[in-house]
């Protein structure tokens, strides 16, 4: 048994999340990844915005910073700039990171600053009760899309790639044993890294979209996840509604705080 306890603030348990909410599965994967890397708890700063998923840092025994909605990456940028020796991990939701926080997301990717973003994509705003998100698929229902969404959804991994991220991976909580490997890689990567985690919100998304139980949602994730290698051989039609998983981007690029340190060294001498 992996000893999660060593990383938890157990007095805050049980978790605030709903029964069947997948966020806890991803949390556990993250802890296994951190443990494997062997980071000390003191050198980790975990930063989040506002949302169900953004409540995560409250449960883990790191330096934790629960900021304002959408701004986790901006706060994290300040932390990382001030103390580049710290490992800064951002935990955020699809709304937090790509609706109100979309700009910080693409700019941090552009700068390629060494942050790891664990992005909990549940297709919806959980915390506020199920409003439409930039990742809600076209036609799906939400409390502010009662007739089905008329908007296209973001491919948020693709966005990070286009903006300049060095590492992007995607996985679902149905495969926690793969997820932790991706998170490990993301944290190890020097540069801006994103792991997009698909996670079910039975309460505000499932119910509205004919997936009555979390079991149905987990099965949906199981059936719709397609590893990248397989997806490359499929045609666009087959890929509709599918989630392409795997490491999507893995590049070695100059990292921002290192570049800035070079500047300091240059200017000081």
């Amino acid at each position: 048994m992996f000893d999660y306890g060593a990383y938890l603030r157990k007095d805050k348990f049980p978790l605030i999340w709903c029964s069947g909410c997948g966020d806890g599965i991803a949390l556990k994967a993250m802890l296994r990844a951190i443990d494997r890397i062997g980071l000390s708890k003191d050198e980790i700063v975990m930063v989040s915005g506002i949302g169900c998923s953004s409540r995560l840092p409250g449960y883990v025994d790191f330096n934790t910073l629960h900021t304002t909605h959408g701004r986790a990456i901006a706060f994290a940028t300040g932390v990382k700039m001030a103390k580049p020796e710290l490992t800064v991990i951002v935990v955020t939701g699809d709304g937090d990171a790509t609706a109100i926080g979309g700009n910080h997301y693409i700019h941090a990717a552009r700068r390629n600053i060494d942050l790891t973003v664990i992005l909990f994509n549940n297709w919806i705003y959980g915390m506020t009760g199920g409003q439409v998100s930039p990742t809600t698929p076209f036609g799906k229902r939400a409390s502010t899309a009662p007739y089905g969404s008329t908007e296209n959804a973001f491919n948020i991994s693709g966005l990070a790639e286009a903006a300049g991220a060095s590492f992007v991976a995607r996985e679902t909580v149905f495969r926690p044993q793969v997820l932790d490997k991706f998170i490990e890689k993301a944290i190890r990567k020097k540069g801006f890294s994103v792991v997009e985690v698909f996670t079910p919100c039975p309460t505000t998304y499932g119910r509205r979209n004919k997936m009555r139980s979390v079991i149905e949602m987990m099965n949906w994730l199981k059936d719709h996840a397609v590893p990248k290698s397989r997806a490359e051989k499929m045609d666009p039609q087959e890929l509709e509604e599918k989630i392409i998983t795997g490491v999507l981007v893995d590049l070695d690029l100059p990292e921002y705080t290192e570049e800035y340190q070079k500047l300091i060294d240059r200017v000081k001498s």
């Binding site: 999340w17 709903c18 029964s19 309460t203």
Partner: protein
Amino acid sequence: MSFRTEIRLSGEGGQGLVLAGKVLAEAAAIYDDKNATQSQSYGPEARGGASRSEVIISDDEIDYPKAVNLDLLLALTQESCSRYWKDLKDDGILLVDSDSVKDIPEGSFKVFKVPIIAIAEQEVGKALVANIVALGIITGLAKVVSEEAVEAAILARVPKGTEELNVKAFKAGLQAAKDLS
């Protein structure tokens, strides 16, 4: 002072207490022509964990819409009972689900223990309608809203196709109340 009744329905998320509160308020306000307010706890509480729905019924305008001195407290879980009983009036009514609430607080209020969830499950056939069973008991015990009003309000609120089930649950509750007196 004018007649004012404060009712709190408590239990956990998913037990339909918000709906029950709304039905009670609508019964009073629309069908019985009284004044009524209803409010509930929001936030994480409202999904899982403790849940609370408050109804105030009055002949007069309702100035202060929060319950502070309960005439009736429904508790479907031990946690909610322990948390809220202190707000009960001296002569108030504490109604608990007898299978869930074992540790009954002491006080001058009246206590009614009814296997509400069991009635829903066994007599009506669906644990989910425990909230409506409870409504029936409350209607019978508190006598602030008429049976007809509550039934009408239930019919107006519940999803099409479930009317019969819900009326059955309501009647089961009314009966349980009668059995108590």
